[in-house]
Symmetry: C2
Subunit: 236 residues, 2 copies
């Protein structure tokens, strides 16, 4: 019915989409949205949206739709972004730099508090207003700074060590950019993002569309595509 109902995994992924759109609507001064119109912009069916939102409680107003502000508040509460999450980035390379410079995380509830690297020539340099710190300071920063999230933005060969250090420091969740499955002894939530994987998925779809792989796989796979999936995730 409503609360205390198991939320299917695909639904959880879509909650981010709903929040993104609710925020956009709120910014545009729109206060009401119905499942059909929301489905239109997000590429989902209206039934899908109603079923998803019904998991969050009695949220819709029959005959009217959903109130945008209510939606935002509820989605943020469920996703956990109604409070600030402090994060540290391990790795001041390409991805680490992009993340530190990316200005829009704070609005979404994520605050980057420090960046670490193992390379001596990078340590001490400035990055987006933060001094790049040596790895041995990680434990202190995490412990004293109320840091819940660690970002692994180092090459694959150092990713497990970086994750181990974050876990040892007491981090609760890891956002992993390295193309491998991180091992962990004690429980830590892990969500992975892989750029190569994204490009491969795109190459597959383009090939399919062009008919390059007609003898390999049936083109019906693209019949009508739209489902949103975006982060590899691991948990135990």
């Amino acid at each position: 019915m409503h609360a205390r109902e198991k939320v299917p995994r695909p639904t959880v992924r879509r909650l981010s989409l709903y929040l993104r759109e609710a925020s956009r609507l709120a910014d545009a001064g729109i206060h009401t949205i119905n499942s059909r119109d929301l489905g239109q912009t997000l590429g989902l069916t209206d039934a899908q949206i109603r079923k998803d939102l019904a998991y969050l409680g009695q949220l819709g107003h029959p005959g009217v739709g959903y109130q945008v502000e209510e939606l935002q508040v509820r989605l943020r509460a469920v996703l956990g972004t109604d409070r600030v999450w402090n994060a540290v980035v391990v790795g001041a390379g390409n991805i680490g730099r992009a993340l530190m410079n990316y200005g829009r995380f704070d609005t979404a509830g994520f605050h980057m508090v420090a960046v670490f690297d193992a390379q001596p020539d990078i340590i001490g340099t400035d990055l987006a207003g933060h001094t790049v710190r040596p790895m041995h300071e990680l434990a202190d920063v995490v412990a004293s700074g109320d840091v819940q999230i660690g970002v692994v933005a180092v090459p694959a060969e150092h990713a497990q060590a970086a994750a181990d250090a974050l876990i040892a420091a007491g981090i609760q969740g890891i956002l992993n950019f390295a193309p491998l499955r991180l091992e962990r002894k004690r429980h830590v939530s892990i969500v992975s993002v892989s750029l190569t994987e994204a490009l491969e998925q795109l190459a597959f779809r383009v090939s399919l569309q062009r008919g390059d792989v007609r003898d390999l796989v049936d083109p019906t796979i693209t019949e009508q595509d739209e489902a949103p999936d975006l982060a590899e995730s691991e948990n135990e």
Copy 2:
């Protein structure tokens, strides 16, 4: 049975994982892998892997397992990465710079041939050995350079314009980093990556783990998590 069989979408996503691991095994000099061990490293069941790989044809060797090199060749052929995909990046900001500097795309079959930006002060500067070009050169570069993929790495407010320009230039697929659903008239495959969404999914999992949202959703959702999902995708 084998070829000309509809490949389920979740399977296609996992093919990237199989390819990643097959490459790793090949580099490590390992020539044979069975579904149980492969499942172990990737966090999947052996049955899942056998079913997935069976879609690609008669690939396994009963009593032995899969030959790593065969696997690699077949996966690359299906994903379309047995050839080089040329790509252009629109946006020389944080993400665009990270992508241009990221050295590992070529190995995976993706070659960045040019980068574009609309801002006059950025145009003409050097980025990873490429001169940042003005948008009006996009059509020419795409047409004359055999470019199939365009990357949208501009702020959300300019993303649709960037996508329109890419589509008009004749691109076949778009990798989108902007947090919105891109519209398109003629068919173009689109895969999206959203860093904010990834962080939100992580926040949700951590909240669930900590019990912060016990009254909102049932914790059974994390009972035993492992499925890989990584790129929002759109097609029509």
